[in-house]
Amino acid sequence: MATPNSPLWEVFIRSRNGLAHKHVGSLHAADATLALQAARDIYTRRGEGLSIWVVPSSAITASDPSEKGMMFEPAESKIYRHPTFYDVPEEVGHM
């Protein structure tokens, strides 16, 4: 029997209490339980984490890099969203 290609999982690790889970890489595993075990062995051999998430790669919807110009244009042109846009006299002090 030919083994079907095993699914790909994305691995996220919380490195310290209070930090968000961060993407660290990916791996292949037949199911979620095996994916978690493999993630522990591959990505946390030196105490890198307190918690692991594994997510099927196929469940991720990504923006298209070739359309990043259009996608992020609204943020580019709105400099008034940044605090430095506003003039506050120096006498007022830190704000």
């Binding site: 290609n5 095993s6 890489g25 595993a29 199911d31 095996l34 070739s66």
Partner: protein
């Protein structure tokens, strides 16, 4: 961790591609931007990187064999635990690298099959045998030392997933080299017999390790494009020289002699080594090294004997999935 000779295989494909896109791509590279998996890239860039990263991954996996040979015979529990951890790291490095290679569009199964069928290479250094315990010291000190020289510049490689994998690998690699040096130091400070064993390992590994950096610059066909694409940041000879300059004082500290009586130090302080025997290198690459057949046979056996595990895991996952679907339908 072993990228030797990866810029010296089959001929290069020159595809006529959209000139504007190619120019925009090169401009991104020149601006030191990282290329990510879904970005447009020239087919030859994709092909070169798939070859280099997958061969690098194969080298990590095959590299477990010569060292694994000594796990059960390590001289103490401390040495055994360290060696076991090192071999586990090599496996981890192989897996990070396969994952990076897959982002270029080949499946894990295709990549592994290419290695098992002999179509894709791994570093020729692993075709040499580990005859004594001192060889484990020499591998850590020299082979991992050479690998670090190669890999540090790869942390800045233009392809994002490869560069990120290299950063992880480099962080872990330094333990490998230090544990090897410690083994050599212990032997070198031991009995006459132990010192002779360390010297013998250095004698056997020195020249193959210099070959790890690949053919001399004049003979290397792929360097130009790899340099232009910022996959390669230093030439083979530059990296080899750096390695030799770093290693000579370490050998002196150990009280061991590098097996190159013609070696001299030039006015700038560089250690100039003698001519490398490239016929040996070509022979090993062609499959005629001392252990080529053993290594491939061991990988094939492991792959075949693990087939039932992969099948069982897939069957179990499929069963659970179909139960879940049936329950959802109720």
């Amino acid at each position: 961790m072993y990228t030797q000779a990866l810029n010296s295989s089959d001929g290069e494909d020159r595809f006529v591609e959209d000139a504007t896109r190619a120019a925009a791509f090169q401009a991104r590279i020149d601006a030191d931007e990282r290329i990510e998996p879904n970005d447009w890239m020239p087919a030859a860039y994709r092909k070169t990187l798939t070859r280099q990263i997958s061969q690098h991954a194969h080298s990590e996996i095959v590299g477990m064999l010569p060292e694994g040979n000594w796990i059960t015979r390590a001289p103490s529990l401390r040495r055994k635990a360290a060696l076991l951890a090192k071999v586990q790291d090599e496996c981890g490095h192989g897996l990070y690298l396969y994952a990076a290679a897959e982002t270029l569009g080949s499946s894990r199964e295709e990549l592994v099959d290419a290695m098992l069928s002999g179509k894709s290479r791994y570093s020729s250094i692993f075709n040499y045998p580990t005859l004594t315990w001192a060889d484990i010291g020499a591998i850590g000190w020299l082979v991992d030392g050479a690998a670090i020289m190669n890999q540090i510049p790869l942390c800045r490689c233009s392809y994002g997933p490869y560069a990120r994998a290299m950063i992880r690998v480099c962080k872990e690699e330094s333990f490998h080299q230090r544990q090897g040096f410690e083994i050599m130091l212990t032997l070198a400070r031991g009995t006459e017999e132990q010192k002779a064993m360390a010297q013998n390992a250095l004698d056997r590994w020195w020249w193959p390790v210099l070959m790890m950096f690949g053919p001399p610059d004049q003979a290397s066909q792929h360097s130009d494009t790899s340099t232009k694409w910022k996959i390669k940041r230093f030439s083979n000879d530059e990296l080899r020289q750096k390695f030799v300059d770093a290693t000579v004082p370490q050998a002196e500290f150990l009280g061991l002699t590098i097996p190159d009586p013609g070696m001299t130090q030039d006015a700038e302080g560089h250690w100039r080594y003698s001519e490398i025997d490239w016929t040996e290198f070509k022979q090993v690459l062609a499959g005629n090294g001392p252990c080529n057949r053993d290594r491939l046979a061991a990988r094939r056996k492991a792959h075949e004997e693990g087939a039932w595990v992969r099948e069982a895991a897939a069957a179990y996952a499929a069963k659970r999935e179909s139960r879940r679907t049936a329950q959802a339908a109720e």
